[in-house]
Amino acid sequence: MLKKVTSGIACMALAFLVACSGGDSENHGSGSDFASQGGQSSGSTGGSGSSGNSSTAGTGGSSAGNSGTAAGSVYYLNFKPEVDSVWQSIAAQYTKTTGVPVKVVTAANNTYEQTLMSEIANKEAPTLFQINGPTGYRNWKDYCAELTGTRLYDWLMDKNMVVKGDDGKVYGIAYVVEGYGIIYNNAIMDKYFALSGAKAASMDDIKNFQTLKAVVEDMQARKEELGIKGVFASTSLNPSDTWRWQTHLANIPLHYELKDKNVTDLDNLEFTYSENYQNIFDLYLNNSVTAKGLLGNKSVDDSMTEFALGQAAMVQNGNWAWSQMADVQGNKVAEGDVRFLPIYTGINGEENQGICIGTENFIAVNSQVSAENQAASIAFLEWLFGSDEGRNYVVNELEFITPFSTFGENETPKDPLAKEVMRYMNDETKQNVTWDFVIFPSQQFKDDFGDALLEYASGGKNWSEVKDIVVKRWAAEKNL
């Protein structure tokens, strides 16, 4: 008898499964039918009013559909955790003025791709998201709407600051220009230059890696005199905080390799300037606030805090870091003392090198959401970068340097690092390094690189092994 019962259950389960899967696909079909019907009726309701012909269920559904789609709504998945609160207030303000609902969600550090992947599968998918360049576009091309005809594109001063598809159309538009280099605390540097026997007389003397190295090592030796714990803030090698090294710092050797080969992309990276990378990376590791072996615990926040508290004289980061430093409790760094130094690595002719200026922030509109939502999203962007109110937010709260012509000469951020970026941009004598890392093959490549750096710092790998990993992983990931 027991056997009979169990087989009965099994049969039922099977039947149920079949029914379920059948029902599932049916639902899908009818769901999409329904949506298109809703769309049609919403078009016709304007003319004929409520017709009352359709069944009750139908009208209920379609009216709900109408109210959802008529105005459209915006859902932006934000990439920058440091300005999340600003985005929230922008969203609230936009909803207040236009009535269009705007939702902003911020992905945590280093999880943007994961968050985007799970969010975009939702019914309420992000309507606005960002791609980090050609590599990002390759991953998300099914979801990127064409932006060629938008006013946003018209406003771009440099029409190259876009992501183009194979068809030559525009799918992503840069919305912020950023710069990074070695941020230094001028007060500490002045204190050092005043010491007897200093290796340089002023920051203007530091124009190559040799001088930088001499100065840094001397400063490290005299750290007590200077009242610091180390010259460089911790080289954050916590596995989710390695982007300053595996992406930003790696840009420098890549940039020169591309320049030598006179190309814009590489199937195989030789890492010809790997020694130069090692030069600067060793300098960071050996003259740091934190002992080499402990760096695996340090995050970017830790190093920015160390810098803000005056424990370190230098830290490699970009202009976005100002808001982070300014928020540190007990911040000891004066606004006027924060400056950028180019990242010197010992490459010939680096005396004229500037800081790294470019972008990896390209805004994209989700092509798979309703037309209303796409239109609402573009309207939101045009408001943000075009209207007085929006521009005020961008300049004074987000503190973005934008590539758009809508911003007047005086409409630039007031924070010291952004001003430094502007200074380097306008300095004719400096050759700024472009952000070539947007051609990095994948996040996986970056992570593997970061892991190798961590092992190098803690003594588990030597430099030639690191170089080997970089070269091999690049080739493997590029040829997937």
Binding site: V5, G8, I9, M12, A13, F16, L17, C20, S21, D24, E113, Q114, M117, S118, I120, A121, N139, D142, N238, P239, S240, A291, K292, G293, L294, L295, G296, N297, S442, Q443, Q444, D447, D448, D451, A452, L454, E455, S458, G459, G460, L480
Partner: protein, 280 residues
């Protein structure tokens, strides 16, 4: 009565069956199907056959994770069960404060894995600080950290099960053994252990499946660092699915393989230990 029960059986079972189907069977079948697909989000899947299963073995991540998991599981199953059994033996003697001890040992099991992972990360790093190194510097630290963490969390739970088993050993058997002149060790191996075989079956099953499926603790403690060398299977699957674009299907295929491995091992173990159980 029997007959009516039988007649209405389907109706009584239906609600549970529906819930079970929605929460388990349907996602499971969909998951298996997706492992044969290439997809970015689960709503736009395209059938690609066994390609995902081949791609699993293109790099060594999965095999490394499997080997790490096996090493970890063997060691932690042994240590957890031995230590918790010894504790259970100690706490079934009539010593003062038995209940207090049982509670204390059981407590860690009530803390979530993620939190435990971070707590132990802090503690281990605080110790390693003296040697100017960290948990993520060497894969061996991560391995032993995980073993210690798992022991700390699971021992209390297993101990409670063993305590219950030991208390159910009939006193007349123990008395008879004593009268026959059996010493403590003989009583333990000839009477107590055979009598608590059902508990051992359960404990082995629980520790085995928990060690094999370990995820939260792994994620919080090391997240696989350095260079994925402390990533266990579940974490590797998660990283493949969410960490690499274009690898969602491969992650799904890994998950199906993972299911088969866990099911095979757990069933094998159940059959083996069941055989050793004796009727009371």
């Amino acid at each position: 009565m029997q007959k009516t029960l039988k007649r209405y059986f389907p109706i009584f079972v239906l609600p549970t069956l529906i819930a079970f189907a929605f929460a388990f069977i349907v996602p499971f079948v969909m998951g298996v199907y997706l492992s044969f697909c290439s997809f970015r989000t689960i709503t736009n899947a395209q059938f690609t056959g066994v390609r995902n299963y081949i791609r699993i073995f293109e790099d060594r991540d999965f095999l490394n994770a499997l080997w790490f998991t096996v090493k970890f599981s063997v060691l932690s199953i042994l240590t957890i069960n031995v230590i918790s059994f010894v504790l259970a033996l100690a706490l079934t003697r009539k010593i003062r404060g038995t209940n207090l001890f049982r509670t204390v040992f059981f407590m860690p099991n009530l803390i979530g894995g993620i939190i435990l992972g971070y707590i132990w990360q802090q503690m281990i790093n605080a110790v390693l600080l003296r040697y100017e190194t960290t948990l993520v510097a060497n894969a061996a630290y991560g391995f032993w950290g995980l073993v210690i963490l798992m022991n700390w969390q699971m021992i209390g739970y297993m101990m409670i099960i063993y305590v219950a088993g030991l208390q159910n050993v009939p006193t007349e058997l123990l008395e008879a053994a004593r009268i026959d002149g059996a010493n403590g060790l003989q009583t333990l191996f000839r009477v107590k252990i055979p009598m608590v075989m059902p508990s051992i079956t359960i404990c082995l099953f629980l520790t085995l499946s928990n060690s094999f499926k370990l995820f939260d603790q792994n994620l919080a403690l090391t997240a696989g660092a350095p260079s994925k060398r402390t990533a266990m299977l579940a974490l590797d699957i998660y990283n493949t699915f969410y960490g690499r674009s274009g690898y969602e299907g491969v992650g799904q295929a890994k998950a199906v393989l993972f299911f088969l491995i866990v099911a095979a091992i757990a069933l094998g173990q159940l059959i083996l230990t069941r055989r050793k159980e004796v009727e009371q």
